[in-house]
Symmetry: C2
Subunit: 179 residues, 2 copies
C-alpha cells in the first residue's frame, strides 16, 4: 500500500499516482507520449529499451517491468526481454548507435555531470544525431523522475513479469494519453 | 557551449534546451508551473526552496541558482539566500513541517527507495497533508530530471549569483508558461 491515501489501491505503480493527481498527470502523460511515441528517428522500441534500462538501473520494478513490456510489444518479442534488459542486453541485437546512446543514458542515470563530450562524440561516430542525443538524455532524465515518484511514495507493483504483458501492449499501441 | 548544437548559444541552462525542443518544452513548462506556482497549501517560496535544495544536492548550478533566486523573490529576501541553501538552511526560518518535507526531498534525491514510511509519518506529525507529501516527492523527482537534462547536455550557466536575480523575479512573478 502506498505511503499516502490514494483511494485507488487496485491501481499499481504510477497508475495510482496519475489517478490521484490529474493536474500533474496530464503533463507527465504528454511528456511520456512525446518522448516514447512521438515523431523520432529512434524507434519506439529503442526508446522504450532506454526507459526500461534506466528504470532497471534505478531499481524501480514497476517502471522497469511496464516499459520493458512495452519495448517487447513494439519489438514483437516475448516478455523474456525483461530478463535480457536486466542482464544488460548482451544477447539482444542492438545497432552500434543504440549501444552508444545507452551508454549516455547510463551516465545520465548516475548524474548529469557524468556525461562527457567524448560520450557524445562516440555516439555521433555511430551516426547519432543531435536530436537523438537530446532525446536520449531527456528520456533517461525523465525516468529518473518517474522512478523516484513511484518508489518515493511506496506504491505497489505486481511481481511477475507476465503480469505486465497486457500493460505493455496497451502502452505500445494506445500510448500514454489514452483515457 | 552545450554538447549539441542548439542555435541559441546565448540562452543558459534549460532555457536553451526548451527553445531547441518546443515539443517537450511545453510539458516541462506545464509541470513546473503546476508544481511550483499552482494551487497548493505550500507557498511557492517553500516549493522553490525544495526545488533549489534538490538542485544543490544534484550539483546543478543553473537550476540551483535560478530556483534559489525564485525562492528569494517569493520570500522577498536577498539573493544571499543561495548561500543559505548551500549551507543547509540552518539560519532560515522554516516551519517544522518544511524541515520534515525537506528530509523527504533529500531521500528522493538519493533514490526513491530511500524514503521510508517513518519519514512520511514524521512529516505528518508536523502537519503535512498527503497532497503536500505527494507534491514534495514529485518536485524532488522532477528536479532530478531537470538537473540531469541541463548537465547531461553540457549547457552553460552564469557563475555569479547576482546574474540570477532578474531571472528569479521573472520565474516567481511571471512563471514557467509565459511566452
Amino acid at each position: 500500500m502506498a505511503y499516502i491515501k490514494l483511494n485507488n489501491e487496485n491501481l499499481p505503480g504510477i497508475v495510482g499516482l496519475l489517478d490521484y493527481r490529474p493536474e500533474t498527470a496530464k503533463h507527465r502523460n504528454g511528456l511520456a507520449e512525446t518522448l516514447l511515441r512521438g515523431k523520432s528517428t529512434l524507434t519506439s522500441g529503442e526508446r522504450e529499451l532506454i526507459a526500461a534500462s534506466v528504470s532497471n538501473w534505478n531499481n524501480c520494478h514497476f517502471c522497469f517491468s511496464s516499459h520493458g513490456a512495452s519495448a517487447a510489444a513494439h519489438l514483437e518479442t516475448s516478455i523474456d526481454l525483461l530478463d535480457e534488459i536486466k542482464n544488460g542486453l548482451g544477447n539482444t541485437e542492438l545497432s552500434p548507435k543504440m549501444k552508444r546512446l545507452l551508454n549516455i543514458a547510463q551516465k545520465v542515470q548516475m548524474g548529469g555531470k557524468n556525461v562527457t563530450r567524448e560520450d557524445i562524440d562516440r555516439a555521433r561516430e555511430k551516426g547519432a544525431t543531435d536530436l537523438e542525443i537530446h532525446d536520449t538524455v531527456l528520456i533517461a532524465a525523465a525516468f529518473c523522475m518517474f522512478n523516484r515518484y513511484v518508489d518515493g511514495l511506496g506504491t505497489w507493483a505486481p511481481e511477475e513479469k507476465e503480469a505486465y504483458i497486457e500493460m505493455g501492449e496497451k502502452l505500445a499501441h494506445q500510448g500514454y494519453t489514452a483515457e
